[in-house]
């Protein structure tokens, strides 16, 4: 995946020692590992990385990936290989809400570029940047399977569809007041279309 280019992350032993996932996250990880036959726990790496990312403010540090390796009894490099391949894993810090605007064909046909331009102007950031207060990151992404309800954006686990400029404004206000996006790992998570 050509999307993410990243430098070598520094590994901080003290930070690594301090990493602890919440009880809820550990429960969920245990449940996920139980879905695979004995000895095939490596299969759990992608779902576990999603949980780890949610536990770590939306991104994966070298220390967090090392923790995942320990939990799954695999090598750190096996985790990094996976994390660096898939576009949903952030290897750099991101804002509390990542606004992912779909830009592929159907969304483009229905005005995705207007949505991107509006957000850029409103928040004073460009595609890929984070606002100074650390609240929002804007990211353009490839087809999210919402072509019939274009244009759309995803924030955390929520799909926001049939966007208009008013809807985008209302969304930004809503997220600002809530403080962060909702992750699918939130037990009370409900899609808020």
């Amino acid at each position: 995946m050509g999307a993410q280019v990243h430098g070598v992350q520094k590994f901080d032993k003290e930070k690594r020692q301090a990493i602890q996932f919440s009880e809820k996250a550990m429960e969920e990880i245990k449940e996920i590992i139980s879905h695979y036959p004995d000895g095939k726990q490596k299969s759990a790496v992608i779902p576990v990385l999603h949980i780890a990312q949610a536990e770590n403010n939306g991104w994966l540090s070298a220390e967090v990936m090392d923790k995942v390796a320990e939990l799954l009894k695999i090598k750190s490099i096996e985790v990094f290989e996976v994390a660096s391949f898939y576009s949903m894993f952030n290897l750099k810090p991101v804002g509390k809400c990542v606004l992912e605007v779909c830009r592929t064909s159907s969304c483009w046909l229905c005005g995705a570029e207007d949505v991107v331009r509006h957000i850029e102007k409103k928040l004073g950031i460009k595609d890929g940047e984070t606002t100074k207060d650390g609240m929002f990151t804007l990211k353009t992404v490839e087809c999210l399977g919402s072509c019939g309800t274009a244009p759309m954006l995803q924030c955390g686990a929520s799909y926001h569809e049939n966007l208009t400029i008013e809807k985008v404004d209302a969304l930004i206000d809503k997220y600002r007041s809530e403080g962060r996006s909702r992750f699918y790992t939130d037990k009370d998570y409900q899609n808020t279309l």
Partner: protein
């Protein structure tokens, strides 16, 4: 009104719950298969139905199932491909979100036919909320005894779980999907061996699309022959079409294969015509990978016959004048659309999604994106158009997986049918400004 076999109950309140799904005839195929049929008999019905893979390739499902190796003492797996990522396609998401038990029922019946005791639904990571819906439905199914040990008191047992991906189109390719399910990068495998012989963890595996698996339910309930009576020729049954773009009624439609394309686009039962009273310019009929066709060729074949929504009719004329049904991602473009810019969004997509294993795809997709960007920036030359053609021809057929073809075909078709538009951009860069590269939202008052 055509027959509906998958979405007939989509508007029933509470159909996403097991209770309501059951009162509307849900799980009957599991009862019928487990209690009255052998696994081979189920496979036989699927063969008779003529069902073809609904993910895009259209390979006969019954044949795929019959290739599954069955060595003694080795587990076999069924994996559902819910990694729906082909631009223009959102039918699987719709089906799973509205009627999750239809997929779970299909998984149980199909797993029984294949002798799988452990099955997975691999769903794209962005569909988190759909994964939650499926997980809840699976919990309900376990609690009611449709999953787990000794289903319906028989000696058949099945465990089913959902695995989420993390944003990679390539994982919709079945061997990349299996790599991902094993916890690795989604790099497609060299075939052979095919998954039917060595798939998940090296064991015999069948990978089927969501819609394919859901279609097994009506096939078992009503019999393969009854299913085969719907449709035209080798395009049997119903198909979910994801309609998007410049139409009045975007959405997911279940059609009997054989509906005329013209009716599909203009009838109020389906797309409802082009929005804002505009004229039709072009259609991408089966997801981003299939060749784009201009109005005259999408409505009628080169021979002048009405084009039908079937595998055969859409591909009539080969790539010179035809296209493919593909995944059923039907993207409609009106007269103001810039074909070059639309192609650029596809080229950018394939460059982003190339896994990087094979040089022709890794490098070629990047060059195609760059050249299209150059043309759209007003700096293109006529040689660039020829170069684009040359690059796409050198990707096709030279890669491990079909992503190479998927990236090459849209470029070839856009140049084949709309060369004059590319040339106009090159000869008169000022004209690019006049083309609507994006559409203002109706209520946008940008200063």
């Amino acid at each position: 009104m055509g027959r509906k076999l998958l979405l007939h109950n989509q508007n029933v309140p509470g159909i996403n719950t097991l209770e309501v799904y059951r009162t509307h005839g849900g799980y009957a195929s599991v009862e019928k298969a487990l209690k009255t049929m052998t696994p081979d008999q189920v496979t036989e019905e699927v063969k008779k139905s003529g069902l073809r893979g609904r993910g895009g390739a259209g390979f006969p499902t019954g044949m795929k199932w019959s290739f599954l190796a069955k060595p003694e003492g080795v587990p076999r797996y069924l994996v559902c491909n819910a990694d729906e990522s082909e631009p223009g396609t959102f039918k699987d998401r719709w089906l799973m979100e509205k009627i999750p038990h239809a997929l779970i029922e299909g998984m149980i019946t199909s797993s029984y036919a294949l002798g799988a005791r452990l099955s997975y639904i691999y769903i794209r990571g962005e569909y988190f909320y759909v994964a939650r819906i499926l997980e809840n439905a699976i919990k309900e199914a376990y609690a009611a005894g449709w999953l787990g040990k000794n289903i319906l008191g028989t000696d058949y047992s099945l465990d089913l779980s959902v695995q989420v991906g993390a944003g990679a189109y390539i994982c919709g390719e079945e061997t990349a999907l299996l790599e991902s399910l094993e916890g690795k990068r989604g790099n497609p495998r060299i075939k052979p061996p095919f998954p039917a012989v060595a798939g998940l963890w090296g064991c015999p595996t069948v990978v089927n699309n969501v819609e394919t698996i859901a279609a097994v339910v009506p096939i078992v309930n009503e019999g393969g022959e009854a299913y085969a009576k719907i449709g035209v020729g080798k395009s049997t049954g119903t198909k979910l079409i994801s309609a998007s773009g410049h139409i009045n009624n975007p959405g997911v439609y279940e059609i009997e294969l054989g509906v005329p394309v013209e009716e599909f686009i203009f009838s109020n039962e389906y797309c409802g015509g082009i929005r804002n009273g505009k004229k039709l310019k072009a259609v991408v009929a089966g997801g981003s990978s299939v060749p784009i066709l201009p109005t005259d060729l999408i409505l009628k074949t080169a021979k002048g016959e009405p084009r039908l929504m079937t595998y055969e009719s859409l591909s009539d004329g080969g790539f010179q004048t035809g296209t493919m049904l593909g995944s059923g991602g039907f993207i409609v473009m009106d007269e103001d659309t810039s074909i070059v810019k639309n192609l650029y969004t596809f080229a950018r997509f394939y460059h982003h999604e190339s896994c990087g294993q094979c040089s022709p795809c890794r490098e070629g997709t990047g060059w195609m994106e760059k050249i299209l960007h150059k043309i759209l920036s007003g700096k293109g030359t006529l040689q660039d158009v020829d170069l684009l053609w040359d690059i796409q021809s050198k990707i096709e057929g030279k890669t491990i997986c079909p992503l190479g073809e998927a990236a090459a075909w849209p470029v070839a078709a856009a140049i084949r049918h709309f060369r004059s538009e590319f040339e106009a951009y090159v000869k008169n860069p000022a004209s690019i400004k006049d083309v609507h590269h994006y559409y203002r939202l109706h209520n946008l008052a940008e200063a």
